[in-house]
């Protein structure tokens, strides 16, 4: 249906850029969440074992993976 309105090249571009924009938005959301968790970790401290550190590390790795995926998307554009 859309193909009758838009040429196939344009549809392919929408598909590509759409995914990249989604990844970018999600990356920004992840950064906000990471900063929020850092704030919470300062509020309550678990000295006995670095529990907040585990959660922060997990979020940081997650953010790194999202960034890598975004860069990969740009690279193959």
């Amino acid at each position: 249906m859309l193909e009758t309105l838009l040429p196939s090249e344009l549809l392919a571009l929408i598909g590509k850029y759409g995914i990249l924009i989604l990844i970018l938005l999600y990356g920004i959301f992840c950064i906000i969440i990471l900063l929020q968790i850092r704030g919470i970790a300062k509020l309550i401290t678990f000295n006995a074992n670095p529990l907040s550190g585990i959660i922060l590390a997990a979020f940081t790795i997650h953010l790194l993976l999202v960034s890598m995926l975004f860069l990969l998307g740009i690279a193959i554009l």
């Binding site: 249906m1 859309l2 193909e3 196939s8 549809l11 392919a12 929408i14 598909g15 590509k16 995914i19 989604l22 990844i23 999600y26 992840c30 906000i32 969440i33 929020q36 968790i37 919470i40 300062k42 509020l43 309550i44 401290t45 678990f46 000295n47 006995a48 074992n49 529990l51 585990i54 959660i55 997990a58 979020f59 997650h62 993976l65 999202v66 995926l69 990969l72 998307g73 193959i76």
Partner: protein, 223 residues
């Protein structure tokens, strides 16, 4: 006659002293210090747990989190979304979808990775929300940390002396089967009521708060 008054006053004095022997009266103080792990939901005398506004002489007596069973909802949602992906990606590659919006194969791979990353992010976010939503009872006050999402938090403090009533709410099969429920604390005046939602062993928590209230009313400054 003066002897009678002397005798009476000494009895009162004796009572006052026994009411201050807090470590024996506040039952939680007799328990061993508890190490807090990633999945701990109930920790009497938690080791190394502090918070921003904690006073040097203040001692954390109890740390509570929501019962682990309350995580079942998001665990099931995650499982469903994971299984759903096995149907979603073949559909996105099918001719039916390609007619509507064509996504090249390389981008479909990126999209699938992105989908699983979002899923992992959802799990992390839900876990962190559960992990940081805690209630702390110290010998001086009650601290309630609430998260609706990770974006909005609400930290409330109240002195034990301001608590006038403690109520336990256990409704339904799950609450009784897994022994968890909500402990509501009514505070004096215009202050908002405090509640520890879906915490394990609510009777023990209410007992600790009642002990502390009794202790503070009898004049004990700290346990």
């Amino acid at each position: 006659m003066p002897d009678v008054f002397t005798e009476k006053s000494s009895v009162f004095q004796k009572e006052a002293i026994t009411s201050h022997d807090s470590p024996q009266r506040i039952s939680i103080m007799n328990k061993k210090p508890h190490k807090v792990g990633l999945f701990t939901t109930f920790a009497p005398l938690p080791e190394g747990v502090t918070f921003e506004t904690k006073e040097p002489e203040e001692q954390v007596l109890l740390l509570v989190r929501k019962h682990f069973i309350t995580n079942v909802t998001w665990v099931l949602i995650t499982l469903f979304l994971f299984l759903f992906s096995f149907f979603l990606f073949p559909f996105l590659r099918s001719d039916t979808f390609s007619e509507v919006l064509f996504i090249p194969d390389t981008y479909l791979i990126i999209l699938s990775f992105f989908y699983y990353l979002i899923l992992a992010g959802y799990v992390l976010q839900q876990f962190a929300t559960w992990f940081y939503q805690i209630g702390l009872i110290t010998n001086e006050r009650i601290v309630d940390v609430d998260f609706h999402t990770l974006m909005s938090r609400n930290v409330a403090y109240t002195d034990i002396v301001d608590v006038v009533d403690v109520e336990i709410i256990q409704k339904g099969f799950l609450h009784n089967a897994f022994n968890y429920g909500t402990v509501q604390m009514q505070t004096e005046g215009m202050k908002a009521n405090f509640e520890f939602i879906d915490i394990p062993d609510p009777h023990t928590v209410a007992d600790v708060i009642s002990d502390l209230m009794r202790h503070h009313r009898k004049g004990g400054s700290h346990a």
